[in-house]
Amino acid sequence: MRNETVRKARGNRLTAMLQVRNEADKHLEAVLQDLTDFVDEIVIVDDASTDGTVKLCRSFAKVSKLIELKQSSFHREWELRLLLWNAACETKPGWLLSVDADEFYEDKAKAWMRTLIDQDEYDWVGFRFFDFWGGTTHYREDRLWQIHRRHTRSLVRYIPGYYYFFPRMDHHVPRLPLTYAALPGFLSELRVKHYGWAVSQEELYRKYLRYMERDPNGEWGSLEQYRSILDENPNLVPWKEEA
């Protein structure tokens, strides 16, 4: 295999990869519709959903591969990540976009997507993710909620034969192989809207309970941050779309 194929500067195919579980009544449909507009293929691992998630996924033509787990592997996150990764790589993609079922790339990011992947200088792209809070007009920004202050690597070049490694952890496994960090990357100022917290007060409370039940001693995350989910008046900043 020749070096030109290690880093293709044009004609790269983009495959989106998602891991889903019981998302039918949330943002999944909008996410898949959104992805349909700018990716070439979508690969999904369904972690034993009991609602209409699988049916919804199948309704999108660009979903080229859908793996349905009968038993949930939620508590073996490392295995789930690896399963999705391997399934996505089988589509022989040029680039892979790791997306959660509640993440939306801003229009500007979508417009730049082909430029980002059709080059041979860098192998991953970092975006700024914003945690929307209580709705889709504001994001949260305070000491404990500032993921947008750093970059999150979610778009990567697929290089066959490279050494891909996920740490074998049950929770908080990175969405993409850690070894991308050794490859050259590009830190973009393009933004991603995360709607995971753009829910009602009641749903926020249920999410708090789930986090506390799953990680009562703050082994995988920060207890202080879990508790901050219940803050009555979090600092919210209005989102401004950019042309």
Binding site: M1, N3, V6, G161, L178, T179, A181, A182
Partner: protein
């Protein structure tokens, strides 16, 4: 006996006695072995025409590691019949360059035996391979033991991978993988060339050149590196596997295996590739012999003059060195810079001898 200023109080008891430069000149030629610790003492070593020259390579201060000084120490190592060091960093670097390197850590009893046996082997004209292998085995066992005790650690796994590689074992890859993983977990991300690229040398050693070139290509980020990939790929396409393999070793700083591959090769261009491997590791004697042999292929005669001048300089043949450098400079006046190197050499040599004279 020793010539120098570093005598110890118990030298007498150990039968070691200091000698002057004059005494040194009176010693019977070919009867002694010389252990040399400074390149500036090489002209003195020539005085006794020793049966064996052992270079002691030691760690130097950062401030004292100019390119010229590195070159002088490199030349000393390349001129020696055996190289010994107590620094593992230098030891490993040397193992990737030369065929006759011994590790002499102060705290390992066995090193004394290896030392004696290796010198005896060398005096009998035998290869020191068996002793080098024995030391690699010992080092690999040492780090395997550490690995079992403390688990995966980036440095321990990397060293273990290096020794397994030197021993030609496929397990080198597993340990390099562990080291690479640990580097990532600990966010030491600047290791594509230092760690990941090493896989290409391992693939090359296993004979999987397609994989080796591919791994190297992944690490090729600059224009120069990418042009090297094109050259490597062309070699593979043309079936010139020796050149591809040697180049992959060279790109991983494994000059020893690169040179070994090229020496066994019958590719018509192997000679010019050998030259590229000899020069960075200061194996000037071999480079000069090669240049004489492939004279027709290398119009750069000035290179032979440069090498000859440097070797003359090391032997204390000042006038011959000057003549050789001037001949080379006729081709390119910038090469007169070597006269400054000669001057530095002479100053340092004078300083070293003066210090020893007054000791």
């Amino acid at each position: 006996m020793f010539f120098g200023a570093d005598g110890k109080p118990d030298d007498d008891a150990n039968g070691i006695r200091p000698v002057s430069l004059l005494d040194l000149a009176r010693l019977n030629r070919g009867e002694y072995g010389a252990v040399v610790t400074s390149p500036y003492l090489l002209p003195c070593v020539r005085l006794i025409q020793p049966r064996i020259v052992i270079a002691i390579a030691e760690r130097r201060d950062e401030a004292d590691s100019s390119e010229t000084l590195r070159k002088f120490h490199g030349l000393m190592a390349a001129q020696a019949d055996l190289i010994a060091t107590s620094s593992e960093k230098i030891y490993l670097e040397m193992c990737f360059r030369y065929d006759h390197v011994l590790y002499m850590p102060n705290d390992i009893e066995e090193s004394g035996t290896v030392w004696t046996e290796a010198i005896s082997a060398k005096l009998r004209g035998e290869s020191t391979d068996v002793w080098m292998h024995r030391q690699w085995e010992a080092q690999a066992a040492f780090y395997r033991n550490w690995h079992e005790r403390i688990g995966d650690h980036e440095t321990i796994c990397y060293l273990l991978a290096s020794y397994q590689y030197l021993l030609g074992r496929s397990s080198a890859k597993s340990y390099l993988s562990l080291s690479f993983e640990q580097m990532m977990i600990k966010e030491f991300t600047d290791c594509l060339r230092t760690h990941y690229r090493f896989f290409s040398a391992m693939d090359a050693k296993e004979g999987d050149l397609e994989a080796a070139v591919r791994v190297y290509a992944i690490t090729a980020l600059t224009d120069e590196e990418r042009s090297r990939v094109r050259v490597l790929q062309a070699y593979l396409d043309q079936g010139r596997t020796d050149l591809a393999k040697a180049e992959l070793f060279r790109l991983n700083d494994d000059y020893r295996n690169a040179i070994g591959t090229l020496l066994r090769s019958d590719d018509p261009e192997a000679g010019s590739h050998l030259l590229r491997c000899y020069l960075p590791v200061y194996r000037y004697q071999e480079a000069l012999q090669l240049l004489e042999r492939i004279r027709k292929q290398t119009p750069e005669r000035y290179l032979a003059d440069l090498l000859r001048g440097t070797l003359d300089m090391l032997s204390g043949k000042r006038h011959e060195a000057i003549h050789a450098f001037l001949r080379a400079a006729a081709k390119d006046w910038l090469l007169l810079g070597h006269m400054a190197e000669l001057e530095r050499w002479e100053l340092e040599t004078e300083f070293a001898l003066g210090r020893h004279r007054h000791a």
